[in-house]
């Protein structure tokens, strides 16, 4: 093969790979819109204003407002639980831990990040869920258990991202703060954290994105009632859980099928929004 054909071939390969990435994003959007079109046409606004999700009844009802609210609520509560703890752990690892200690604990978190969500869900289902019955909670799978599962699922990503942004703050900033008489804890929480704020915010956004898209944990641990839970021990169902649990038994091309694609469309809009916010935070920080 001569030099310029090789050159052309390699350039073509690179172009093809970029085209595949671009068409994947557009393809996913187009497919979701195309397949959910008939749900929008036939069910219309009821999709988003009704709480009645009875897709296999006669007549069926396709109101997924409760599931949208559940998805957002789980995201909010999950982030509220996981972010503060991640922050404290990251501060410890950044400022106080010895190098070996830091390396070891980081390693534990990295392994946890690789644990499949179905494994986390099963362990909680097998060992924690039965405890609910003993304290008289009627639903062994509920919002609380799902939040515990989400906590284990997201704490490694959140901690690692916050730690990375704390570690990337220049040492001189901390030394200046110490020279002014601030104790370590004050330096880390007031000075280093302030300098690392964009990174920390980015970590929060990506954590939220991870939670909103999580399926198996909320499906197996959430209890699966398409209603808005009134307390932590009520069962609930999110958009992701509805898609994964109902799609295999749904007739392709039916209204139920189409409205599950509409649920997917709502999800991808959330995730795109989160990613755009994350990009914006990082870009503003660069300047």
């Amino acid at each position: 093969m001569n030099r310029s054909t090789k050159d052309t071939l390699r350039k073509t390969l690179l172009t093809v790979s970029s085209l595949i990435a671009i068409s994947a994003v557009f393809g996913i959007y187009i497919y979701l819109i195309k397949e959910s079109y008939s749900a929008f046409q036939q069910v219309g606004a009821e999709l988003f204003v009704s709480d009645q999700w009875y897709p296999v009844w006669d007549p069926p009802e396709f109101g997924m407002r409760a599931m949208i609210i559940n998805s957002l609520m789980v995201t909010l509560l999950g982030s509220l639980i996981v972010v503060p703890f991640s922050y404290l752990i990251a501060i410890y690892l950044h400022g106080y831990a010895k190098p070996r200690e830091k390396e070891m604990i980081r390693r534990i978190f990295e392994y946890l990040a690789g644990v499949p969500s179905v494994v986390i869900a099963f362990v909680l289902l097998a060992f924690v869920s039965p405890l609910f019955a003993q304290v008289g909670i009627y639903s062994p799978q509920n919002l609380l258990l799902a939040l515990v599962g989400l906590f284990f699922l997201t704490i490694p990503i959140c901690t690692t991202l916050i730690l990375e942004s704390l570690d990337s703050v220049p040492k001189q900033v901390e030394e200046a703060s110490a020279a002014l008489g601030a104790i370590e804890f004050r330096t880390y929480t007031r000075v280093t954290s302030k300098a690392a704020l964009p990174g920390i915010m980015n970590a929060i956004v990506l954590t939220a994105n991870r939670i909103v898209g999580e399926t198996i944990v909320v499906l197996l641990l959430g209890g699966g009632a398409a209603m808005i839970p009134q307390k932590l021990t009520d069962p609930m169902k999110t958009l992701t859980a509805a898609i994964a649990s109902e799609m295999p038994e749904t007739a392709k091309g039916s209204l139920h099928y189409s409205s599950l694609f509409a649920a997917g469309l709502v999800l991808i809009l959330f995730s795109t929004l989160f990613e755009v916010v994350s990009i914006a935070i990082l870009r503003r920080n660069k300047r």
């Binding site: 752990i89 690892l93 990295e110 399926t215 649990s245």
Partner: protein
């Protein structure tokens, strides 16, 4: 007299409390306790996933198909399905992810970076919906290994490409300039100098991606997996059982009699993850 000692004790106590050094110690100890509690919780999660299931491992467990309504037999079809799906999806995603990583690093195209970031954030179940719509229905692959592998490949693509991008981007400018000065073209600089120097990191990320791919459940429920396959897969268009979906179906719809099998499957999955990540970390450390 008594009052006096109380007073001096109080003064010492307050002084100790407001002493910045002691304050610092307290926060250090508190933070350490929090960190260690969570590290312990995570370790116990690993142990609970790994240990109770190991006693169900025997030759039959790995070589038999489940029988009697998932209450006896083994997990061979699921094991086979997971291995096939993971290997096939990686065979598609690694070359593609490498090329995409090169584009991210060597061509300053803002919109490609944007696209990859968006891809990396899309929920796995949405990938599943897309795979179901495009591969299974429109392209007529039905519920099959191929449809599942393509969907998984698309999912791990951003993971692989952003990792290749990071390592390649970190290679010093001067090296590229030196190659250009010798008369190399851009594609030659990339494929003959940069790619060989990121080989090891591609190996690392392949293992990380394998860990990701083998544990994915939701997209496979939609595109590739059935809860019970009567036959072993005969072609790329056969449906399969996989370890994570097997575990999911067992925990979702089978009772106490199938629990031993779920525990055994959990142990296999977690052991797999530990092994794969340990290899990945070993490669990464060697690089340092």
């Amino acid at each position: 007299m008594n009052e006096n000692t109380n007073f001096s004790q109080e003064v010492t106590k307050r002084a100790r409390k407001s002493n910045p050094v002691n304050k610092g110690m307290r926060s250090k100890v508190t933070l350490r306790v929090i960190t260690y509690i969570f590290a312990a919780l995570i370790l116990s999660l690993f142990l609970l996933a790994l240990i109770p299931g190991i006693r169900y491992w025997n030759l039959d467990f790995f070589t038999q198909a489940p029988s009697n309504g998932m209450t006896s037999g083994g997990i061979f079809p699921a094991l086979l399905g997971s291995i096939l799906l993971t290997l096939l999806s990686l065979a598609i995603a690694i070359p593609l992810g490498m090329l995409l990583g090169i584009v991210l690093s060597e061509y300053n195209l803002e919109y490609i970076r944007f696209v990859v970031t968006i891809l990396s954030g899309i929920p796995s179940v949405v990938y599943g919906l897309f795979g179901l719509g495009l591969f299974c229905i429109t392209l007529g692959m039905r519920t099959s290994i191929l449809a599942g592998a393509l969907t998984l490949a698309l999912m791990v693509l951003p993971v692989i490409s952003s990792s290749v991008y990071e390592t390649m981007y970190a290679i010093p400018r001067e090296l590229r300039e030196a190659a250009y000065a010798l008369g190399a073209r851009k594609s030659e600089v990339i494929f003959e100098m940069l790619v060989p120097s990121v080989k090891r990191s591609i190996l690392t990320v392949s293992f990380v991606a394998a860990g990701r791919a083998i544990g994915e459940t939701a997209p496979l429920i939609l595109t590739a997996a059935v809860f019970y396959a009567t036959n072993l897969p005969t072609s790329l268009l056969s449906p399969v059982m996989t370890l994570p979906t097997h575990l999911y179906f067992l925990s979702a719809s089978y009772g106490k009699n199938a629990r031993w099998m779920a525990q055994g499957t959990t142990s296999v999955l977690i052991l797999f993850v530990i092994v794969v990540y340990t290899i990945a970390f070993a490669f990464r450390r060697e690089k340092k």
